[in-house]
Amino acid sequence: MDLTIIGAAVINGILMGGIYTLVASGLTLIYGVLHIINFAHGSLLMVAMFGVFYLVTKLGVDPYLSLIVTMPSMFVMGYVLYKYFIGKLSYGKDENILLITLGLSIVIENLALMFFSGNSQTISMSYSDKMFEVGPLLIGLPKVISFVAAMVMCALLGIFITRTDTGRAIRAVAKERMGARLVGIDVDKVFAISFGLGMATLGAAASLLMPIFYVSPTTGHVFVMVAFTVVVLGGMGSFLGAVVGGLIVGLTESFGGLYLGESLGQIGISLIFILILLFRPSGLFGDKR
């Protein structure tokens, strides 16, 4: 096969992988560290993307600038959502959290369908079509921005969780809940903060995604399985794992499409998820549990 096509597939896969990393990084914190199975991750991303869409089209805010609004508002939403809703109603049980967040995603998606209709919405900015030329290949500028931002965000999250007091508290709660409580950590608050942080990264992801992707009430479906795959593949709670996992998933999708065709090519992501859970549930960089 032509080298240019393979090169394009590699670059496309890597850039898509960056976007997947971006969406999954919040889940790494929520699911990977604290084992809160947030099935509404995709739907909440969709909500944030609609937020960005209206900021851009109604108020004329630049999508990248909208980060300043989306991140804090998603943090607050996540904090409140966990503190007064998910945490309270699930009684801390794994399966209940899964079902509550499933119920939440059903409600959010169908409310979106009622208010925004089922149509796909996109935004177009002056730089939307800007391209780099690298040899014979053309690379879209917004995709590169998203990719770089994803890497920066994972690095920041990694530093946050290893170097700050809040990060240490989160890890303590993840490892040994009772012990953390005994040394004076407010466990419920740590859970709510982590959930809020996960949502904040989702807000950032929404701002960075909007220039290159469409939003519709079912956009979440595209990402929810991918995000879980990236987290499980990379290893629970590992931000380096999220980056590597995202890249592998992006490349798998890109090459799957190239060699297996548009339809069968999508099988790669689900297969990776199944194989990892069956044969190496700790993922590539996770602790053996």
Binding site: N96, I100, M114, S263, I267
Partner: protein
Amino acid sequence: MIFNRSPWALHIVLLAAAIIFPFVSSSAFVINFGVLALFYAFIGQSWNIAGGFAGQLSFGHVAFFGVGAYASTIVQMRFGFNPWWGLPASALAGAAAGWFIAVLSFRAGLKGSYFALITLAFAEVFRIVANSVDITGGGLGMLIPMKQTSANFQFGDRRAFYFIILTLTVISVAIALWLKASRFGARLAAIRENEDSARALGINTFVEKIKIMVISGAIAGVGGCFFAQYFLYIDPTIVFGVDKSVEMLLVSMIGGAGTVYGPLIGAVLLALVSEVTRSMFSFQGLSLVLYGTLLVIIIAFLPNGLVELFKGREQKKAGRLASAAKKGDV
């Protein structure tokens, strides 16, 4: 209530009501409503048998449903069998899919949310395969030609479909009743409540869980066959879509997971809510908003489902203990 002392009286009343129902009104709307409600009850019971009775929460139950729908349609359209052969074919295919997914997942020791997520992934793999190979007709799906004779599993009178799905639902309820009363069902309950203790008691949890997934898969498969023959059209997005998995789970969870009548109550409610909202409001989505909200309320405040509201005082006490256990208070 008399029904608490004599469950058979309840069965007879319910069955008589179900038999009389299509003769109350011959309007297509009423018959269609009845078929829809029973269809939800049937596939909901399939989920309930695995998710409720054995505690194996599946998010991808549609995998078995879709496999059944395709098996019956392929047997009819590609191999020229009489469509009635679709029923055993779909049961076999659903059972095989249940066995396959169960053996792989349970051998790897997956449970709880991991099991839920891997079933979702399997359903997605099945959808993509059905979308890509020739024998299924790919993304275009398969259209079963209209030819209304009873030998052809098609009927001029829609009531025939009503009685077929009623029969299937009665069989599924009978299976649930058997699970409630049998030692097999007791072993499953032990696995649901605490798998490690169940194993310590000498139960081969691996084998029991596979058995129940095979039974549940077979039921869902037959549901797929009925769906194909009722609507005469299937495609990968319809019969392998996440929506149907969610409907099965919702019907069962809302009515009462792990109870015999839960899926029936949940199904009637789902059919009612979706028909009423569809005829009263022009926008889509409202029925699922209500249903999703109900799911959250049920999990938070009524873990044993709506069926709890119909119980007598004695049973309520047992139910409260069970729900306290589910909340983790005990």
